[in-house]
């Protein structure tokens, strides 16, 4: 398995960052860090020992889902945003419809906002994270999830 489970100390640091950046304090998942420095979250009820036993039996490709990347503090993944979006209380940046379509095409936005990570939202949809340098919002929408043709 190309990942290791977070130690109790690492987990504590992660949860503290999650609280600081997003105001989220209830994520009862098992966390792993992959060799690509990506954090993954597992909501299943196997213990880490049981997962390690499966790892002895089979080639484990993935455990759980992509949770976040430890950059700009903590950058939540596009899909995790939709799963825990309702728990997020900080750093939310609402876009207009026009901005949201531009965003989902994978483009950055010339938008003045507080420097740092923002949770991008349009209506009820969470559209991933963006990083603002104060003047521009940098886009992290995964390529395969971008609108390629006419916007809907």
């Amino acid at each position: 398995m190309n990942a290791h489970f977070l130690s109790a100390h690492e987990r504590k640091q992660l949860l503290a960052e999650l609280q600081r950046v997003y105001g989220v304090d209830d994520v009862p998942y098992l966390f792993l860090e992959t060799n690509k420095e990506r954090l993954r979250a597992f909501s299943g009820d196997l213990t880490r020992e049981e997962i390690m036993e499966i790892d002895e039996i089979a080639r484990i490709e993935l455990v759980g889902t992509y949770f976040a990347k430890p950059e700009y503090g903590l950058r939540l993944s596009f899909d995790m945003m939709q799963l825990i979006g309702k728990k997020i209380s900080k750093s939310i940046l609402e876009l207009t419809e026009e901005q949201a379509h531009e965003w989902m095409r994978g483009n950055g936005l010339a938008l003045e906002s507080e420097k740092g990570i923002h949770v991008i939202k349009h209506g009820e949809d969470f559209l991933g994270c963006g990083y603002s340098d104060g003047q521009k919002l940098w886009n992290f929408v995964p390529k395969e999830r971008r609108i390629r043709t006419r916007a809907r």
Partner: protein, 319 residues
């Protein structure tokens, strides 16, 4: 020019559908494209909410009471229109043919259970199982090839599946090792590689690719897969064996093989599509009468693709 059935395939289908009108209906419908079914991904959005959103754009209905997550877009769509919609990009729904949804419905996985999906890619049934498990319990999803694993994992990520472990193994070897270490699952989905006779509507090239030797070879592999999968099932646990083919060698013959060798019983499956009972004889073969409890889904009965679903229960420990 439309593809035509190979003579031997046509002869076999006529044996399965001796009534001329029935066969003609089959022969007509397999030359039409499939309908646009989608499945609401309840891990991210409720069916009511999704329906409300989609109805602003398309004519969407929920054709089956008791299954609000199953939706049908009843209008002509442009190429890729379902896949490029915002709701699809955000993982609110999965594009899945209705007959392929039947495996997970028959499996009926519950939150908190330990579930094994042995031939998981591309992930339509895996994501459906995870949704029914509400991301609780553990879902071990396996496939053999890395390129298929990539498709599987992309679909699982899009749908927000978090309770899963994805492995890349030959399913027979994986089952042998799991059984040796004492791993037992509450439910197992064995949706095996098959000759694909049921997919003529969405994949007309199957008309050309069909070959009786492939059917015979697959049948042997499928029996081996089922024999090993059963060894990983808890006593009282459920295994669903499904294919997207009509060939009895890949369906009832495989179930008959399991009934002969293992302490299993075939359970009747109640599904929201019209099912015909499994055939108890085919050419010179006679199958256990219990295979009648299995479910044959024919395209002309429901305006769907063709499919086969069976549910087995393990009655006692396999020695």
């Amino acid at each position: 020019m439309p593809y035509e059935m190979k003579p031997l395939f046509e002869e076999r289908m006529k044996m399965l559908m001796p009534d001329k009108e029935d066969f003609d209906a089959f022969n007509t419908i397999v030359h039409t494209g499939p309908r646009n079914f989608i499945r609401c991904n309840t891990l991210k959005m409720s069916p009511e909410h999704l329906l409300k959103r989609l109805r602003k754009r398309w004519n969407v209905v929920q054709p089956f009471s008791g299954y609000p997550e199953i939706m049908l877009v009843e209008q002509a769509l442009g190429p890729g229109e379902l896949g490029s919609a915002m709701e699809h990009l955000l993982g609110y729904y999965y594009i899945q043919e209705i007959s392929s949804m039947m495996s997970a419905l028959a499996l009926d996985p519950q939150p908190g259970e330990l579930v094994l999906d042995l031939c998981a890619s591309p992930g339509s049934k895996t994501t459906q199982i995870a949704a029914r498990m509400e991301n609780r319990g553990t879902l071990l999803a396996n496939d053999i090839k890395l390129d298929r694993i990539k498709i599987l994992s992309a679909n699982m990520e899009r749908c927000g599946v978090m309770n899963s472990i994805v492995t890349r193994e030959d399913a027979v070897g994986l089952c042998m090792r799991l059984a040796k270490r004492g791993w037992k699952f509450d439910r197992i989905l064995l949706d095996v590689p098959c000759s694909g006779e049921g997919t003529l509507r969405s994949s007309p090239k199957t008309f050309l690719m069909w070959n009786i030797k492939v059917v015979q070879n697959l049948s042997r592999q499928q029996m081996k897969l089922l024999a090993n999968a059963l060894k990983c099932l808890k006593v009282g646990g459920t295994l669903v064996y499904s294919t997207c083919t009509h060939a009895p060698e890949e369906n009832e013959a495989v179930i008959h093989f399991a009934l002969e060798r293992f302490p299993v019983k075939v359970e009747h499956v109640k599904l929201p599509l019209r099912c015909r009972p499994g055939v108890t004889s085919w050419k010179d073969e006679r199958y256990d009468a219990a295979v009648e409890q299995t479910c044959r889904i024919y395209p002309q009965d429901n305006d769907t693709e063709g499919f086969f679903v069976s549910r087995l229960k393990l009655l006692k420990e396999i020695e």
